[in-house]
Assembly symmetry: C2
Homo-oligomer: 335 residues x 2
């Protein structure tokens, strides 16, 4: 900057004014400065800027992985909306969701050039006692039940699961089986809980829960077990990928979808419409989740009061071709 000032024959303050587009610089001077900037390839040093302003214009995102569709789409939305507000995104990946790692991430984050943090945490860790966030760090949490302590943005998991169950019961199914996600997952627990209560409200039998790990392969294995049960005519899976595995298992077991068994997924990933058959599923609006995260966090950073509480993004059921009324003649129950 000093070099630019020297070359342009002005003071560094004037260069600063030009760089920030402030008024009060006469046109001829401005152009001299701009020319000098170009000639020297001047680019402002953002570390110095951050130091001066006390802000980084950066949001940190702590997460366990981008592998899941939901995470990567949420992060993308966060990045897009943050960019629109002039904020960059710093990714802070945490290997395993152990407490140590999360704490380590928080510690590192303290040293990081970040004005606030969005926590995409997925598992029951914030519940535990020892996890504390450095005071003075602005935080928004995605997909957790820490709503009593932090602002939380979440998909309305429960309502989505309820819609799925009611749809299947409305088609005439006696009950609905559930293939849940891992027990540590908060989202999985919410979906399973809502499935259970929806069945109970309707006075139906609640079958034993199957569990997978979100992967299509785990869905396949669970699907083979479910397919072996002739009374199983409707399956609600906790995500679309497991539904894909279930579809394969049912197909290989000779049970037609939707004629013999109906399947409903969760997420509405892009591929779901190309499954065999195209999957009826609960649509999650990841982009909206990301949008709200950014807004909530920026509100905090801009000194709005931080309001703990959960901001629920609605879900909706997308009807495709994987559900139908149960077979008119049920297979004879095992004696």
């Amino acid at each position: 900057m000093a070099d630019v000032a020297r070359l342009a024959g002005v003071s560094s303050q004037t260069v600063s004014r030009v760089a920030n587009g402030q008024s009060g610089v006469v046109e001829s001077t401005r152009e001299q400065v701009l020319a000098a900037m170009r000639e020297l390839g001047y680019r402002p040093n953002s570390a110095a800027r951050s130091l001066r302003y006390g802000r980084f214009n950066t949001i940190g995102v702590i997460l366990f992985g981008l592998a899941s569709t939901g995470n990567s789409r949420t992060v993308e939305a966060i990045a897009t909306h943050a960019a629109a507000e002039g904020y960059a995104i710093t990714l802070i990946p945490v290997g395993m969701p152990t407490q140590d790692n999360v704490l380590g991430a928080f510690t590192r984050m303290g040293e990081l050039a970040v004005d606030g943090v969005i926590l995409i945490i997925e598992v029951h860790l914030l519940d535990s006692t020892a996890v504390f966030l450095p005071p003075g760090v602005h935080v928004v949490v995605v997909d957790s039940d820490a709503g009593d302590r932090y602002p939380v943005v979440d998909t309305d998991q429960a309502d989505g699961a309820r819609q799925a169950v009611r749809h299947l019961l409305g088609l005439g199914h006696r009950t609905v089986h559930h293939l849940a996600g891992p027990a540590e997952s908060f989202a999985a627990e919410r979906r399973a809980g809502a499935w259970r209560s929806a069945l109970e409200e309707a006075g139906r039998v609640v079958p034993a829960v199957e569990r997978g790990d979100w992967s299509a392969d785990s869905g396949y294995r669970a699907g083979l077990r479910l397919a072996a049960d002739p009374a199983c005519t409707a399956i609600f899976t906790a995500n679309d990928q497991m539904a894909l595995g279930v579809l394969r298992a049912l197909h290989e077991s000779g049970r037609a979808v939707p004629a013999d068994v109906s399947v409903v997924g969760f997420d509405d990933i892009a591929d779901a419409s190309a499954y065999l058959p195209p999957l009826t599923t609960v649509h999650q609006d990841f982009a909206e989740v990301g949008r709200r995260c950014v807004r909530l966090l920026l509100d905090q950073i801009h000194d709005e009061p931080s309001t703990p509480g959960t901001d629920l993004v609605p879900t909706r059921l997308i009807l495709r071709s994987s559900t139908a009324p149960p077979p008119a003649v049920l297979p004879p129950p095992a004696v």
Copy 2:
């Protein structure tokens, strides 16, 4: 920091030494300082650090979206390996891959707190004249043909496509149809080019190329067209998601996979093993791509000479159940 120094009764320099774990601080002093840090909730200001050191310990990643499996997995690997080296990742999303946007990203990047940049660009933009990177910025490019000007890391697209074609020809298919990705995509072009030359080398007819946009739905539409051609017994799709759509189209058209038609995908995404049937596909090692990107970039940052050239990550064909010899009796060729 000054407050900490005052409370601990030492100079700020000693606080700095403790904060950085330098030797030459007597144990009792160190503990006093640490206690003061805790009491005041001191966290070092990384902007000041960056300013002092002239480094940010941050890598920028410019990309067009995390939607594609490949991108998000590459980014995840980049983030993980960068973290292991003490670097954070800043995401710089670019809305549309227009030249203006890319230039804008570069400009913003100049102002960004970043020591180097990994460019995941996907389309033929670096070829064009006007795109220039700010001098002095370290760059590694993924998935491009700018190997003459920048260090490039790429999957060995060509070899993967060759493996797919040879596998199908080896099964006895007369030729192989190809469902390509969008023409703007560099990866799509490389795969299509290798498919074509592999067929030519074998002296086979090169059918007209179908094109999709990577999505399963576009694969479905192209699949319907291919299914209508009775001479089509083998299809190589440029990614797995389009293969999913093709599988659905073939199924709906009454053509069995692999009995009537063989299908090979590209990517080996997690779901591919749960398709109907499980998909034979070319495995891409995204994690390795990310790893090499980070290493190449850090080498540059640490003053190793920057070597333009392309670093190819090998691919391998994963055999599953979607390929088989062509039907013994071919349908009569159209006269």
